[in-house]
Amino acid sequence: MPVEALLARDVRKTYRTRNAPEVEALSGVSMVAHPGERVALLGRNGAGKTTFLKIASTLLTATSGTVEVLGHDVLSDPDAVRPHIAVVPQEGKPFFHLTPREQVYTYLRSRGMDRPTATARTSEALGEMGLTEVADRLSITLSGGQRQRTMVATVIATQAPVLFLDEPTIGMDPFARRAVWQTLRRLSRQGSTILLTTHYLDEADALSERLYIIERGRVLVEGTAVSLKQQVGGSLRVSLPGGQPLVPTLEGFGRVVTDGTTVHVLIEPPSLTELLNLAVREHLTATVGPVTLEEAFLSAVGHSIDED
Protein backbone atom coordinates (compact mmCIF):
# COMPACT_ATOMS: atom_id res chain seq x y z
CA MET A 1 0.00 0.00 0.00
CA PRO A 2 1.56 3.35 -1.02
CA VAL A 3 2.42 5.81 1.73
CA GLU A 4 0.16 8.85 1.79
CA ALA A 5 1.78 12.27 1.74
CA LEU A 6 -0.51 13.29 4.58
CA LEU A 7 -2.89 11.19 6.63
CA ALA A 8 -4.77 12.75 9.53
CA ARG A 9 -7.19 10.87 11.74
CA ASP A 10 -9.59 12.48 14.18
CA VAL A 11 -7.30 15.41 15.02
CA ARG A 12 -8.51 17.51 17.91
CA LYS A 13 -7.00 20.65 19.32
CA THR A 14 -8.16 22.48 22.40
CA TYR A 15 -6.41 25.68 23.41
CA ARG A 16 -6.22 26.07 27.15
CA THR A 17 -5.08 29.39 28.53
CA ARG A 18 -5.14 30.74 32.03
CA ASN A 19 -8.06 33.01 32.92
CA ALA A 20 -9.83 32.24 29.65
CA PRO A 21 -12.34 29.63 28.56
CA GLU A 22 -11.09 26.64 26.59
CA VAL A 23 -11.32 26.98 22.84
CA GLU A 24 -11.81 23.87 20.74
CA ALA A 25 -10.11 24.79 17.47
CA LEU A 26 -10.31 21.34 15.87
CA SER A 27 -13.04 18.83 16.68
CA GLY A 28 -11.96 15.65 14.95
CA VAL A 29 -10.48 16.49 11.58
CA SER A 30 -9.56 13.61 9.30
CA MET A 31 -8.08 14.08 5.88
CA VAL A 32 -5.72 12.64 3.34
CA ALA A 33 -3.43 14.08 0.67
CA HIS A 34 -2.05 11.68 -1.90
CA PRO A 35 1.51 12.07 -3.22
CA GLY A 36 1.67 14.82 -5.82
CA GLU A 37 -1.82 16.08 -5.04
CA ARG A 38 -2.86 19.70 -4.53
CA VAL A 39 -5.30 19.97 -1.65
CA ALA A 40 -6.93 23.17 -0.41
CA LEU A 41 -8.38 23.81 3.02
CA LEU A 42 -11.14 26.33 2.68
CA GLY A 43 -12.86 28.06 5.53
CA ARG A 44 -13.77 31.31 7.22
CA ASN A 45 -11.54 33.10 9.69
CA GLY A 46 -11.12 31.00 12.81
CA ALA A 47 -12.45 27.84 11.17
CA GLY A 48 -9.35 25.85 12.14
CA LYS A 49 -7.38 25.80 8.87
CA THR A 50 -4.19 27.30 10.24
CA THR A 51 -4.37 25.21 13.39
CA PHE A 52 -4.53 22.06 11.29
CA LEU A 53 -1.73 23.20 9.01
CA LYS A 54 0.50 24.00 11.98
CA ILE A 55 -0.14 20.58 13.51
CA ALA A 56 0.56 18.81 10.22
CA SER A 57 3.77 20.78 9.74
CA THR A 58 5.19 19.93 13.21
CA LEU A 59 4.67 23.42 14.63
CA LEU A 60 1.83 22.67 17.04
CA THR A 61 0.84 19.70 19.16
CA ALA A 62 -2.59 18.16 18.80
CA THR A 63 -4.71 17.39 21.83
CA SER A 64 -5.54 13.99 20.33
CA GLY A 65 -5.58 12.16 17.03
CA THR A 66 -2.78 11.22 14.67
CA VAL A 67 -1.12 12.88 11.71
CA GLU A 68 1.36 11.16 9.45
CA VAL A 69 3.46 12.82 6.79
CA LEU A 70 5.01 10.35 4.35
CA GLY A 71 4.45 7.64 6.94
CA HIS A 72 6.18 9.49 9.80
CA ASP A 73 4.15 10.40 12.86
CA VAL A 74 4.20 14.17 13.16
CA LEU A 75 3.47 14.25 16.86
CA SER A 76 5.82 11.55 18.12
CA ASP A 77 8.63 11.94 15.60
CA PRO A 78 8.68 15.49 14.20
CA ASP A 79 12.40 15.26 13.44
CA ALA A 80 11.68 12.56 10.87
CA VAL A 81 9.07 14.73 9.20
CA ARG A 82 10.91 18.06 9.02
CA PRO A 83 13.44 17.17 6.30
CA HIS A 84 10.54 16.38 3.95
CA ILE A 85 8.51 19.55 4.38
CA ALA A 86 8.60 23.32 3.87
CA VAL A 87 6.12 25.87 5.19
CA VAL A 88 4.93 29.32 4.15
CA PRO A 89 3.66 30.65 7.48
CA GLN A 90 0.58 32.83 7.66
CA GLU A 91 1.61 36.49 7.69
CA GLY A 92 5.25 35.46 7.52
CA LYS A 93 7.75 38.06 6.36
CA PRO A 94 11.26 37.65 5.01
CA PHE A 95 14.19 39.09 6.94
CA PHE A 96 13.91 42.81 6.22
CA HIS A 97 17.68 43.20 6.06
CA LEU A 98 18.24 40.46 3.53
CA THR A 99 17.57 40.70 -0.16
CA PRO A 100 15.18 38.16 -1.69
CA ARG A 101 18.21 36.43 -3.20
CA GLU A 102 19.93 36.22 0.18
CA GLN A 103 16.71 35.09 1.88
CA VAL A 104 16.11 32.20 -0.49
CA TYR A 105 19.76 31.18 -0.81
CA THR A 106 20.59 31.23 2.90
CA TYR A 107 17.40 29.33 3.71
CA LEU A 108 18.33 26.59 1.25
CA ARG A 109 21.85 26.47 2.69
CA SER A 110 20.50 26.16 6.22
CA ARG A 111 18.46 23.18 4.99
CA GLY A 112 21.73 21.55 4.01
CA MET A 113 21.61 22.17 0.27
CA ASP A 114 24.98 22.47 -1.50
CA ARG A 115 26.05 25.85 -2.88
CA PRO A 116 25.63 25.22 -6.67
CA THR A 117 22.16 23.71 -6.24
CA ALA A 118 21.11 26.47 -3.84
CA THR A 119 22.33 29.14 -6.25
CA ALA A 120 20.52 27.59 -9.21
CA ARG A 121 17.28 26.98 -7.29
CA THR A 122 17.35 30.53 -5.90
CA SER A 123 17.55 32.11 -9.35
CA GLU A 124 14.87 29.78 -10.67
CA ALA A 125 12.44 30.46 -7.81
CA LEU A 126 12.98 34.23 -7.92
CA GLY A 127 12.38 34.16 -11.67
CA GLU A 128 9.19 32.17 -11.32
CA MET A 129 7.90 34.60 -8.71
CA GLY A 130 8.76 37.60 -10.89
CA LEU A 131 11.32 38.87 -8.40
CA THR A 132 14.42 38.91 -10.60
CA GLU A 133 14.40 42.70 -10.92
CA VAL A 134 14.22 43.24 -7.17
CA ALA A 135 16.29 40.20 -6.19
CA ASP A 136 19.15 42.29 -4.86
CA ARG A 137 17.15 44.96 -3.04
CA LEU A 138 16.67 44.72 0.70
CA SER A 139 13.28 43.25 1.55
CA ILE A 140 12.48 46.25 3.73
CA THR A 141 12.21 48.31 0.53
CA LEU A 142 9.81 45.88 -1.16
CA SER A 143 6.02 46.05 -1.28
CA GLY A 144 3.89 43.70 0.81
CA GLY A 145 3.11 41.59 -2.25
CA GLN A 146 6.79 41.31 -3.18
CA ARG A 147 7.66 40.23 0.35
CA GLN A 148 4.95 37.59 0.22
CA ARG A 149 6.32 36.40 -3.13
CA THR A 150 9.74 36.18 -1.50
CA MET A 151 8.28 33.91 1.17
CA VAL A 152 6.68 31.69 -1.47
CA ALA A 153 9.91 31.67 -3.51
CA THR A 154 11.84 30.62 -0.41
CA VAL A 155 9.61 27.61 0.07
CA ILE A 156 9.12 26.52 -3.53
CA ALA A 157 12.88 26.61 -4.08
CA THR A 158 13.21 23.72 -1.62
CA GLN A 159 11.17 21.44 -3.92
CA ALA A 160 10.36 19.56 -0.71
CA PRO A 161 8.13 16.50 -1.07
CA VAL A 162 5.37 18.11 1.00
CA LEU A 163 4.70 21.85 0.92
CA PHE A 164 2.39 23.59 3.37
CA LEU A 165 1.24 27.05 2.38
CA ASP A 166 -0.91 29.10 4.71
CA GLU A 167 -2.71 31.79 2.70
CA PRO A 168 0.21 31.94 0.24
CA THR A 169 -1.15 34.56 -2.12
CA ILE A 170 -2.49 37.04 0.40
CA GLY A 171 -1.70 40.61 -0.64
CA MET A 172 -0.59 39.61 -4.15
CA ASP A 173 -1.88 41.11 -7.36
CA PRO A 174 -3.77 38.84 -9.80
CA PHE A 175 -0.69 38.28 -11.99
CA ALA A 176 1.45 37.23 -9.07
CA ARG A 177 -1.28 34.92 -7.80
CA ARG A 178 -1.43 33.21 -11.17
CA ALA A 179 2.34 32.85 -11.18
CA VAL A 180 2.13 31.11 -7.81
CA TRP A 181 -0.62 28.81 -9.04
CA GLN A 182 1.41 27.93 -12.11
CA THR A 183 4.48 27.13 -10.04
CA LEU A 184 2.52 25.04 -7.57
CA ARG A 185 1.01 23.08 -10.44
CA ARG A 186 4.49 22.44 -11.83
CA LEU A 187 5.77 21.30 -8.45
CA SER A 188 2.88 18.91 -7.99
CA ARG A 189 3.48 17.50 -11.48
CA GLN A 190 7.05 16.88 -10.35
CA GLY A 191 5.79 14.96 -7.33
CA SER A 192 5.47 17.49 -4.51
CA THR A 193 2.28 17.37 -2.49
CA ILE A 194 0.74 20.77 -1.85
CA LEU A 195 -1.52 21.51 1.09
CA LEU A 196 -2.69 25.09 1.19
CA THR A 197 -5.18 27.09 3.14
CA THR A 198 -6.95 29.86 1.35
CA HIS A 199 -9.60 32.41 1.77
CA TYR A 200 -9.90 32.88 -1.96
CA LEU A 201 -12.54 30.66 -3.50
CA ASP A 202 -11.26 31.26 -7.02
CA GLU A 203 -7.82 30.11 -5.88
CA ALA A 204 -9.19 26.90 -4.43
CA ASP A 205 -11.23 26.39 -7.59
CA ALA A 206 -8.33 27.02 -9.96
CA LEU A 207 -5.58 25.30 -8.04
CA SER A 208 -6.82 22.42 -5.93
CA GLU A 209 -7.46 18.95 -7.17
CA ARG A 210 -9.41 18.29 -4.03
CA LEU A 211 -10.59 20.52 -1.24
CA TYR A 212 -11.89 20.35 2.27
CA ILE A 213 -14.31 22.94 3.62
CA ILE A 214 -13.64 23.43 7.32
CA GLU A 215 -16.07 25.15 9.65
CA ARG A 216 -15.84 25.41 13.44
CA GLY A 217 -13.04 22.88 13.60
CA ARG A 218 -14.79 20.20 11.55
CA VAL A 219 -14.57 19.05 7.94
CA LEU A 220 -18.00 19.86 6.53
CA VAL A 221 -17.42 18.85 2.93
CA GLU A 222 -14.70 17.10 0.98
CA GLY A 223 -14.45 16.69 -2.76
CA THR A 224 -13.33 18.26 -6.00
CA ALA A 225 -14.40 21.77 -6.89
CA VAL A 226 -16.53 20.35 -9.70
CA SER A 227 -18.27 17.80 -7.47
CA LEU A 228 -18.97 20.43 -4.83
CA LYS A 229 -20.50 22.75 -7.38
CA GLN A 230 -22.64 19.90 -8.72
CA GLN A 231 -23.96 19.20 -5.23
CA VAL A 232 -25.33 22.70 -5.02
CA GLY A 233 -28.37 21.80 -7.12
CA GLY A 234 -28.14 23.84 -10.32
CA SER A 235 -25.75 25.11 -12.91
CA LEU A 236 -26.86 28.76 -12.93
CA ARG A 237 -26.95 31.28 -10.12
CA VAL A 238 -29.45 34.12 -10.17
CA SER A 239 -28.66 36.74 -7.54
CA LEU A 240 -31.45 39.00 -6.37
CA PRO A 241 -30.45 41.80 -3.98
CA GLY A 242 -33.40 42.54 -1.65
CA GLY A 243 -35.22 39.39 -2.67
CA GLN A 244 -35.95 38.00 0.82
CA PRO A 245 -39.70 38.65 0.73
CA LEU A 246 -39.92 36.38 -2.30
CA VAL A 247 -38.08 33.43 -0.81
CA PRO A 248 -41.14 31.17 -0.57
CA THR A 249 -41.87 31.77 -4.27
CA LEU A 250 -38.22 31.50 -5.27
CA GLU A 251 -37.93 28.10 -3.61
CA GLY A 252 -40.20 26.82 -6.34
CA PHE A 253 -37.47 27.52 -8.92
CA GLY A 254 -34.55 25.83 -7.21
CA ARG A 255 -32.32 25.92 -4.19
CA VAL A 256 -32.31 29.26 -2.39
CA VAL A 257 -29.28 30.53 -0.48
CA THR A 258 -29.30 33.85 1.34
CA ASP A 259 -26.15 35.92 1.80
CA GLY A 260 -26.92 38.98 3.86
CA THR A 261 -29.65 40.87 2.00
CA THR A 262 -29.06 39.07 -1.28
CA VAL A 263 -30.90 35.94 -2.30
CA HIS A 264 -29.19 33.50 -4.67
CA VAL A 265 -31.39 31.04 -6.55
CA LEU A 266 -29.59 28.05 -8.03
CA ILE A 267 -31.44 26.79 -11.06
CA GLU A 268 -31.14 24.87 -14.30
CA PRO A 269 -31.29 26.88 -17.57
CA PRO A 270 -34.93 26.06 -18.52
CA SER A 271 -36.21 27.94 -15.45
CA LEU A 272 -34.23 31.08 -16.20
CA THR A 273 -36.73 33.01 -18.31
CA GLU A 274 -39.58 32.51 -15.90
CA LEU A 275 -37.41 33.60 -12.93
CA LEU A 276 -36.21 36.72 -14.72
CA ASN A 277 -39.81 37.62 -15.60
CA LEU A 278 -40.65 37.36 -11.91
CA ALA A 279 -37.73 39.65 -11.03
CA VAL A 280 -38.91 42.24 -13.57
CA ARG A 281 -42.48 42.13 -12.21
CA GLU A 282 -41.16 42.64 -8.67
CA HIS A 283 -38.77 45.45 -9.76
CA LEU A 284 -35.71 43.51 -8.60
CA THR A 285 -32.27 43.58 -10.14
CA ALA A 286 -31.08 40.13 -11.18
CA THR A 287 -27.55 38.99 -11.94
CA VAL A 288 -27.06 35.69 -13.73
CA GLY A 289 -23.86 33.66 -13.74
CA PRO A 290 -22.57 30.13 -13.53
CA VAL A 291 -22.59 28.44 -10.12
CA THR A 292 -19.21 28.97 -8.47
CA LEU A 293 -17.46 27.59 -5.48
CA GLU A 294 -18.87 30.54 -3.59
CA GLU A 295 -22.37 29.05 -3.81
CA ALA A 296 -21.00 25.65 -2.90
CA PHE A 297 -19.36 27.18 0.16
CA LEU A 298 -22.43 29.17 1.08
CA SER A 299 -24.59 26.12 0.64
CA ALA A 300 -22.31 23.93 2.78
CA VAL A 301 -21.55 26.40 5.54
CA GLY A 302 -24.59 28.62 5.52
CA HIS A 303 -22.44 31.76 5.54
CA SER A 304 -20.30 33.57 3.03
CA ILE A 305 -16.55 32.92 3.40
CA ASP A 306 -16.05 36.61 4.21
CA GLU A 307 -18.55 36.57 7.05
CA ASP A 308 -16.99 36.33 10.53
Partner: protein, 250 residues
Protein backbone atom coordinates in the same frame (compact mmCIF):
# COMPACT_ATOMS: atom_id res chain seq x y z
CA UNK B 1 24.85 15.43 5.33
CA UNK B 2 25.11 12.10 7.15
CA UNK B 3 28.80 12.73 7.66
CA UNK B 4 28.15 15.82 9.76
CA UNK B 5 29.78 15.13 13.13
CA UNK B 6 27.04 16.70 15.28
CA UNK B 7 23.73 15.83 13.62
CA UNK B 8 21.74 17.95 16.07
CA UNK B 9 23.71 21.03 14.99
CA UNK B 10 23.40 20.42 11.25
CA UNK B 11 22.72 23.71 9.47
CA UNK B 12 23.76 25.84 12.47
CA UNK B 13 26.74 27.24 10.57
CA UNK B 14 24.67 28.30 7.58
CA UNK B 15 21.95 29.73 9.78
CA UNK B 16 24.45 31.66 11.89
CA UNK B 17 25.78 33.22 8.68
CA UNK B 18 22.21 34.17 7.80
CA UNK B 19 21.83 35.84 11.18
CA UNK B 20 25.23 37.51 10.77
CA UNK B 21 24.13 38.98 7.43
CA UNK B 22 20.90 40.20 8.99
CA UNK B 23 22.71 41.79 11.93
CA UNK B 24 25.47 43.52 9.97
CA UNK B 25 22.89 45.54 8.10
CA UNK B 26 22.30 47.25 11.45
CA UNK B 27 25.77 48.79 11.50
CA UNK B 28 24.84 51.70 13.73
CA UNK B 29 23.17 49.44 16.29
CA UNK B 30 26.29 47.28 16.37
CA UNK B 31 28.66 50.12 17.06
CA UNK B 32 26.35 51.87 19.52
CA UNK B 33 26.20 48.62 21.48
CA UNK B 34 29.38 49.67 23.29
CA UNK B 35 28.35 53.29 23.69
CA UNK B 36 27.35 52.97 27.35
CA UNK B 37 30.54 51.12 28.18
CA UNK B 38 32.66 53.65 26.28
CA UNK B 39 31.04 56.62 28.04
CA UNK B 40 31.46 54.94 31.39
CA UNK B 41 35.15 54.28 30.67
CA UNK B 42 35.69 57.92 29.79
CA UNK B 43 34.08 59.01 33.06
CA UNK B 44 36.14 56.53 35.06
CA UNK B 45 39.31 57.63 33.29
CA UNK B 46 38.57 61.23 34.28
CA UNK B 47 37.06 60.75 37.74
CA UNK B 48 38.78 57.65 39.11
CA UNK B 49 41.81 56.68 37.02
CA UNK B 50 42.94 53.88 39.40
CA UNK B 51 39.69 52.03 38.66
CA UNK B 52 40.09 52.24 34.89
CA UNK B 53 41.53 48.73 34.48
CA UNK B 54 38.69 47.22 36.50
CA UNK B 55 36.10 49.18 34.53
CA UNK B 56 37.70 48.10 31.27
CA UNK B 57 37.57 44.42 32.19
CA UNK B 58 34.00 44.97 33.36
CA UNK B 59 33.06 46.63 30.09
CA UNK B 60 34.39 43.62 28.16
CA UNK B 61 32.34 41.19 30.25
CA UNK B 62 29.29 43.49 30.19
CA UNK B 63 29.53 43.72 26.40
CA UNK B 64 29.51 39.94 26.16
CA UNK B 65 26.68 39.71 28.69
CA UNK B 66 24.45 42.08 26.71
CA UNK B 67 24.77 39.77 23.69
CA UNK B 68 22.06 37.77 25.44
CA UNK B 69 19.76 40.74 25.18
CA UNK B 70 20.45 40.87 21.44
CA UNK B 71 19.66 37.16 21.17
CA UNK B 72 16.45 37.72 23.12
CA UNK B 73 15.39 40.63 20.93
CA UNK B 74 16.30 38.90 17.68
CA UNK B 75 14.71 35.53 18.49
CA UNK B 76 11.54 37.22 19.70
CA UNK B 77 11.44 39.59 16.72
CA UNK B 78 11.78 36.73 14.25
CA UNK B 79 9.02 34.82 16.02
CA UNK B 80 6.56 37.56 17.00
CA UNK B 81 6.92 40.01 14.15
CA UNK B 82 8.14 37.98 11.18
CA UNK B 83 6.93 34.49 12.12
CA UNK B 84 10.04 33.23 10.42
CA UNK B 85 10.67 30.75 13.21
CA UNK B 86 7.96 28.64 11.56
CA UNK B 87 9.83 28.67 8.25
CA UNK B 88 13.05 27.49 9.89
CA UNK B 89 11.67 25.14 12.53
CA UNK B 90 9.51 23.21 10.06
CA UNK B 91 12.62 22.28 8.09
CA UNK B 92 15.68 20.04 8.41
CA UNK B 93 17.30 22.74 10.55
CA UNK B 94 17.02 21.36 14.07
CA UNK B 95 15.71 23.51 16.94
CA UNK B 96 19.21 23.17 18.46
CA UNK B 97 20.73 24.64 15.30
CA UNK B 98 18.17 27.40 15.25
CA UNK B 99 19.07 28.49 18.78
CA UNK B 100 22.82 28.09 18.29
CA UNK B 101 22.64 29.78 14.87
CA UNK B 102 21.00 32.91 16.25
CA UNK B 103 23.48 33.03 19.15
CA UNK B 104 26.56 32.58 16.99
CA UNK B 105 25.29 35.02 14.33
CA UNK B 106 24.74 37.70 16.97
CA UNK B 107 28.16 36.97 18.47
CA UNK B 108 29.89 37.31 15.10
CA UNK B 109 28.22 40.63 14.34
CA UNK B 110 28.64 42.18 17.76
CA UNK B 111 32.21 40.93 18.18
CA UNK B 112 33.42 43.78 16.00
CA UNK B 113 32.85 46.58 18.56
CA UNK B 114 33.94 44.27 21.39
CA UNK B 115 37.23 43.90 19.55
CA UNK B 116 37.63 47.67 19.82
CA UNK B 117 37.43 47.36 23.60
CA UNK B 118 39.88 44.47 23.41
CA UNK B 119 42.28 46.73 21.50
CA UNK B 120 42.04 49.33 24.25
CA UNK B 121 42.62 46.59 26.83
CA UNK B 122 45.70 45.35 24.99
CA UNK B 123 47.12 48.86 25.07
CA UNK B 124 46.37 49.58 28.72
CA UNK B 125 46.28 46.32 30.68
CA UNK B 126 49.26 44.25 31.79
CA UNK B 127 48.36 41.33 29.55
CA UNK B 128 49.78 37.95 30.51
CA UNK B 129 48.97 34.58 28.97
CA UNK B 130 47.07 33.73 32.16
CA UNK B 131 44.92 36.86 31.91
CA UNK B 132 44.23 36.23 28.22
CA UNK B 133 43.20 32.64 28.99
CA UNK B 134 41.01 33.78 31.87
CA UNK B 135 39.41 36.53 29.82
CA UNK B 136 38.63 34.13 26.97
CA UNK B 137 37.28 31.40 29.23
CA UNK B 138 35.15 33.67 31.40
CA UNK B 139 33.94 35.56 28.32
CA UNK B 140 32.97 32.27 26.66
CA UNK B 141 31.10 31.07 29.74
CA UNK B 142 29.25 34.38 30.08
CA UNK B 143 28.36 34.25 26.37
CA UNK B 144 27.01 30.69 26.67
CA UNK B 145 25.02 31.65 29.76
CA UNK B 146 23.61 34.90 28.43
CA UNK B 147 22.76 33.57 24.96
CA UNK B 148 20.96 30.61 26.52
CA UNK B 149 19.08 32.92 28.88
CA UNK B 150 18.18 35.28 26.04
CA UNK B 151 16.82 32.48 23.86
CA UNK B 152 14.80 30.92 26.67
CA UNK B 153 13.28 34.26 27.64
CA UNK B 154 12.51 35.12 24.02
CA UNK B 155 10.04 32.24 23.86
CA UNK B 156 7.97 33.62 26.73
CA UNK B 157 7.04 36.96 25.18
CA UNK B 158 4.14 37.68 22.85
CA UNK B 159 4.59 41.44 22.55
CA UNK B 160 7.69 43.22 21.26
CA UNK B 161 7.09 46.33 23.36
CA UNK B 162 7.19 44.28 26.55
CA UNK B 163 10.42 42.66 25.41
CA UNK B 164 12.33 45.90 24.91
CA UNK B 165 11.58 47.28 28.34
CA UNK B 166 11.75 44.09 30.38
CA UNK B 167 14.90 42.79 28.72
CA UNK B 168 16.60 46.10 29.33
CA UNK B 169 15.71 45.95 33.04
CA UNK B 170 16.94 42.38 33.35
CA UNK B 171 20.25 42.85 31.62
CA UNK B 172 21.06 46.12 33.32
CA UNK B 173 20.04 44.74 36.70
CA UNK B 174 22.44 41.79 36.46
CA UNK B 175 25.07 43.53 34.38
CA UNK B 176 25.39 46.90 36.09
CA UNK B 177 24.19 46.58 39.68
CA UNK B 178 26.62 43.82 40.80
CA UNK B 179 30.36 44.60 40.84
CA UNK B 180 31.02 44.31 37.13
CA UNK B 181 32.29 47.84 36.48
CA UNK B 182 33.54 48.48 40.00
CA UNK B 183 35.70 46.49 42.43
CA UNK B 184 34.22 43.62 44.38
CA UNK B 185 35.42 45.14 47.67
CA UNK B 186 32.95 48.03 47.21
CA UNK B 187 30.03 45.58 47.11
CA UNK B 188 28.33 44.94 50.50
CA UNK B 189 30.26 42.09 52.09
CA UNK B 190 27.09 40.31 53.18
CA UNK B 191 26.07 40.07 49.52
CA UNK B 192 29.51 39.00 48.27
CA UNK B 193 28.47 35.36 47.66
CA UNK B 194 25.63 36.63 45.47
CA UNK B 195 28.10 38.57 43.34
CA UNK B 196 30.26 35.45 43.07
CA UNK B 197 27.44 33.32 41.69
CA UNK B 198 25.99 35.80 39.19
CA UNK B 199 27.85 35.05 35.93
CA UNK B 200 28.87 38.61 34.93
CA UNK B 201 30.12 39.59 38.38
CA UNK B 202 31.65 36.15 39.01
CA UNK B 203 33.65 36.57 35.80
CA UNK B 204 34.78 40.08 36.70
CA UNK B 205 35.66 38.99 40.26
CA UNK B 206 38.04 36.40 38.81
CA UNK B 207 39.48 38.94 36.39
CA UNK B 208 39.86 41.57 39.10
CA UNK B 209 41.69 39.04 41.26
CA UNK B 210 43.96 38.07 38.37
CA UNK B 211 45.27 41.66 38.03
CA UNK B 212 45.61 41.99 41.81
CA UNK B 213 42.80 44.50 42.23
CA UNK B 214 40.91 42.36 44.75
CA UNK B 215 41.79 39.41 46.93
CA UNK B 216 39.70 36.25 46.75
CA UNK B 217 39.97 33.34 49.15
CA UNK B 218 40.46 29.89 47.57
CA UNK B 219 36.85 29.15 48.47
CA UNK B 220 35.67 32.29 46.71
CA UNK B 221 37.70 31.45 43.62
CA UNK B 222 36.14 27.99 43.61
CA UNK B 223 32.65 29.46 44.09
CA UNK B 224 33.07 32.03 41.31
CA UNK B 225 34.70 29.63 38.85
CA UNK B 226 32.48 26.69 39.71
CA UNK B 227 29.18 28.56 39.59
CA UNK B 228 30.29 30.27 36.41
CA UNK B 229 30.95 27.00 34.59
CA UNK B 230 28.03 25.09 36.07
CA UNK B 231 25.50 27.84 35.38
CA UNK B 232 26.65 28.18 31.78
CA UNK B 233 26.56 24.43 31.21
CA UNK B 234 23.20 23.91 32.91
CA UNK B 235 21.53 26.83 31.18
CA UNK B 236 22.92 25.80 27.79
CA UNK B 237 21.59 22.26 28.27
CA UNK B 238 18.24 23.67 29.34
CA UNK B 239 18.17 26.05 26.35
CA UNK B 240 18.71 23.10 24.00
CA UNK B 241 15.90 21.20 25.71
CA UNK B 242 13.71 24.29 25.66
CA UNK B 243 14.45 24.98 21.99
CA UNK B 244 13.25 21.46 21.13
CA UNK B 245 10.21 21.73 23.38
CA UNK B 246 9.09 25.10 22.07
CA UNK B 247 9.72 24.20 18.43
CA UNK B 248 6.26 22.67 18.68
CA UNK B 249 3.77 25.01 20.33
CA UNK B 250 1.44 23.54 22.90
Amino acid sequence: MAAFPLPRLRGAGAFSLTEFRVQVHEGIAIFTSIMTQAVLLIFVRILAPPLFEIALLGSLIFSVFTLGQRVLNEAAYIRVDHRLNQLYLASPLTPDSYFVGISVGVLMAYSLPILLLVAVAVLTLPFTPALVALLLSTGFAVWVFTSSLGYILSTTFRDMRAIWSQASILYNLFGVLPPVFYPLYLFPSALRPVALVLPPSAATALLQASIGAVTLSPGEVALAAGSHVVEAAVLFAFALYWARRTAMER
